[in-house]
Subunit: 466 residues, 2 copies
């Protein structure tokens, strides 16, 4: 007998979080600074202000435990899609043979946002602050297009210009995402383009060059440097992006409280770390304060790009072209080019410094899964819950299933909560390949990791200086 | 100053409607029967039982004002997407220069369902009844794929087989919809196929035949006749489909009541009539009872296929192949092939008998719009509200905008409510064509309508017999 009030837990619009949760003051070790790639020294705020929206730079280093969400921004969240639902996965539970109240699976449904993922949570914030500071253009790069769509949407909502450098291979393969960005008024350029020096060198050699995220980042950063009214925008990795995503975890907390559930495991996929960061930070802070010490937090990576599982915790460039700041993080090396898995959002060489630190300190852990088992799980989820997950989100589905089955085997009681970070309406090719049986698995060989990590092109960074 | 509680009006899961609203007992004239195409006489229930799920046939002719929604079905609605939100279109209002409280625009957001439209409301119901009656397969046709996706989803939820005949032109042009259907376990065949006699005659002449909705319906009906455990499923037009859609209007009523708003105009696009029917029936019943006599109800048709605006109110076949029952309705003639507008869901020659009767009796009215102005309005909606509407839904957006601007010009107070029947993530080509300036308008010439209506292939129907 299903209790209606416990199947899809909604919050009132006025229960949308009023603050973001900042984990920096509670970290077990101090946050490492962003390093200037030019001299290996901590980037002074003025340098960062020239790249990112000013308020975001201040949030990047803030020690305030709570940072108020501006009223006008919160208003747009409420008007459009927040709070998002938390679902009990009754259909999936039934399929797994764990019907009952001992093992429960919940998922936070971020796929209901206008562009279909959690990304607008930070896109709207960055666009809002830019508008307020008189910035009239945000520039970014995008791979599969999920982040580019979200920033296009965000900029359009605050009436500022948006320019997106989209990896040419995706530009040609995913016309839908491109049209969606244009519908939101963005300029979309195939990268490498002839519009920037970084792009031109590749473009002139080969106008059909398929591009890479590394080149696209360089083009976006270079473009943003041209005008003091333009800024570069990032959709993951840095502290302020994870901060903006904490609306997810705060809502989950409130929703679980309504049905008197204490979570045992939190699960999220991680590429740069933004959706998992958003889900877990409000809970991790509690854990750091000794509340719910047994809560497990599990990040899920693709076996093709396992930055935390197989990378080193070192200083590395945020981008392949060495224009963006250097961060201390788990990384596979900025020269690493991941295999072409469908979860484009998880093809990043590094990992958010916050997640890197929490992993090092054993506040959370991480696992890896193969593309075929991930897409198979995504399909099981679609069939039982009705929502087709994005390939990225399907990583979290796979791990939630594994956690449930393990608990069943061990006769454990367990409440599992995962973040369904986005829907897969623009990623149907992954499912098609699985259905016709030609989806491929990629496992990153150890020697390739060693090679990627052996890049000798890093300035000397003296940690005793900060 | 925006009141948070009035921007996106949500209902609790337990406020999901418990009954469907049946307008049949309140119609100003008796509902016309379904006619057997073989003999021109009212189809006896046994004949209809062989085609449609049994409970649906009983609902088609029921005189009960309220029909309870089965508990198990309501449970799935609640678990997955109902109640859907009602939004106040503050962004659109601002763009139109009608900020304030005199003219308000609201939209019911049916795009949040798992397949992105209102269609699962009836797909789940038909699958539920089929399962209960021991039917193990539902067969249908689909054009653009919205209905096919919804029925695939519905059948999968109740673990019965689903077979979809998809017009070959769409089958080739819209691989996304096809993969989505397959992800939900459906069999999808390009139509004309060699699997049915109706299809084979076309297929053998030309294996690349682009197909038509008419041929696809014939294939689906023929296929469903083969087994007494299979039934044909319809996504619009007939009374029981409109009945299942009344969850929309009932929720809107409850949502408007929460914010003390009386609607002045209800707007919906209409192809077969299911989303507008679902929105307006609970209100039209009040109007027929003398409550809110001034409420306007406006159906929006494409100029390329204006069944009500330009068709005749006559007996006509429900399909081009004359296998489906004959209905009394506004129609452009069953041989009419509409121009290839992007709003595939509005390319139907006829109109729901309920809507036909209410239009004849002046309980509601209808208007027509051109494809370019519709898509332009859809784009304005995306830019201001953040949701990209399906081309079908964009017809309602266009009319809501016109209603608002007219009210502004006349200094009238007006509360406008429209149904956003679906999102446009699978219809991006329409927006692309608009953005690059090669979207085409189609206006149906009068002589073509006369030709289509002049088809002499109808059995004699003696209305004095019933």
């Amino acid at each position: 007998m299903i209790d209606y009030n416990k199947t899809r837990i909604l919050l009132d619009p006025n229960e949308t979080p009023k603050d973001w949760v900042n984990i920096l003051p509670d970290l077990p070790v101090p946050m490492t600074p962003l390093i200037n790639p030019m001299d290996g020294k901590p980037a002074p705020p003025e340098l960062a202000f020239a790249i990112f929206p000013k308020q975001c730079v201040l949030q990047e280093i803030s020690q305030e435990p709570l940072i108020p969400i501006p009223k006008e921004l919160r208003e747009i969240f409420v008007r459009t899609y927040r709070p998002t639902p938390l679902h009990r996965a009754y259909g999936l539970e039934k399929e797994l043979g764990i019907e009952g109240e001992d093992i429960k699976i919940f998922y936070k449904n971020e796929s209901v946002s206008p562009t279909g993922s959690h990304k607008p949570n930070t896109a709207l914030a960055q666009a809002y602050y830019s508008k307020k500071d008189g910035v009239n253009e945000l520039i970014t790069e995008t791979g599969a297009g999920q982040w580019g769509s979200a920033l296009s949407y965000g900029c359009n909502m605050f009436d500022i210009k948006c320019t997106v450098y989209m990896v040419r291979a995706s530009f040609l393969q995913k016309p839908g995402r491109k049209i969606l960005m244009r519908a939101f008024n963005a300029q979309v350029h195939a990268s490498p383009s002839k519009l920037t020096d970084s792009g031109k060198s590749y473009y002139e050699k080969d106008p059909e060059h398929p591009g890479s995220l590394g080149i696209a980042i360089s083009e976006a950063v270079e473009h943003s440097m041209r005008s003091d009214k333009a800024r570069y925008s990032l959709g993951s990795v840095v502290n302020f992006v994870l901060l903006h995503q904490t609306v997810i975890g705060q809502e989950v907390k409130a929703q679980l409280k309504k049905i008197n559930i204490e979570p045992d495991v939190l699960v999220g996929c991680m590429g740069g770390g933004s959706n998992l960061g958003g889900l877990m930070i409000p809970f991790a802070r509690d854990k750091l304060h000794g509340i719910s010490p047994d809560l497990e937090i599990v990040g899920v990576e693709p076996r093709a790009c396992p930055s935390v599982n197989k990378g080193d915790y070192i200083w590395d460039y945020g981008d392949s072209a060495k224009k963006a700041p250097i961060l201390k993080m788990f990384t596979l090396g900025h020269n690493f080019i991941p295999s072409p898995i469908h979860a484009g959002g998880l093809r990043y060489h590094g990992m958010a410094p916050i997640i890197s630190i929490l992993t090092r300190k054993k506040i959370m852990s991480s696992v890896m899964h193969h593309q075929t088992e991930v897409i198979e799980s995504g399909l099981m989820f679609a069939k039982t819950e009705g929502i087709l997950p994005a390939p990225e989100a399907a990583h979290a589905v796979k791990e939630a299933i594994d956690q449930a089955l393990k608990a069943k085997e061990n006769n454990e009681k367990k409440n599992i909560v995962f973040c369904l970070s986005g829907h897969g309406f623009f990623d149907l090719l992954a499912y098609k390949e699985f259905l016709v049986g030609n989806l491929v698995d990629y496992e990153l060989p150890t020697e390739e990791i060693q090679k990627a990590l052996a890049a000798p092109d890093m300035p000397n960074i003296d940690e005793t200086n900060f």
